[in-house]
Amino acid sequence: MLTIRTMSETLQEEDIRGILENRDESIRIETIEPLYYPYVMLMYSFQLKGKLSKLNRQMMCNVDLVCGRQAIGQGIPEFITMKVEDHQVLPASVSEEEFLPASRDYVFRLFLGKMKILQTPEIQLAATDYFHKLFYLVECLDQEDSTYHVLVDSMDGSLVLLD
């Protein structure tokens, strides 16, 4: 069993079933399995001097700890701590040494490109938060009885077909 931190408000299995049936009335769902995906949330603060200080802002960068991909986050959810089975958790394979400089560059580059102000901002890492996001792995059968999988995000119900 592993102890992880994850979002408190998530969709439940019935919701997931509903979402999928909404897309495809004849969908054949075999199993729905929860999977926990590791991320780290990095809060960066950008400070500019003088008149430009009104452009000071915080940027939240979420890093996918399996592939290292960065994305800008919107809003901070509520977390709870819970225990889950080992096989339900994807192992993180990106270390701090790898993601810290990469994320910093990512937000810096975004900031530079978007703000178009050619002054060096002072960038500080204000917070680091490790968490796992719940996904539902749904196994389905298609019209020819082959298996396919759908991964559904428990936060917003968005989904992706797995190949």
Partner: protein, 49 residues
């Protein structure tokens, strides 16, 4: 002579606005037909910058 130009000159230089507009309309029609069969909602909405 059209508009004081040799016909070949007129066609070579000034027939294009009509040609291109018509072409664009035809291509629009075909692209719309293709788009109707394509599912693009994963690509819709904001492009992440």
């Amino acid at each position: 002579m059209i508009f004081g130009m040799p016909t070949i000159s007129f066609l070579a230089f000034l027939s294009w606005p009509l040609t291109f507009t018509v072409t664009a309309l035809i291509i629009y029609y075909f692209m719309a037909k293709q788009d109707a069969l394509t599912d693009d909602s994963e690509f819709e909405g904001e492009v992440k910058h």
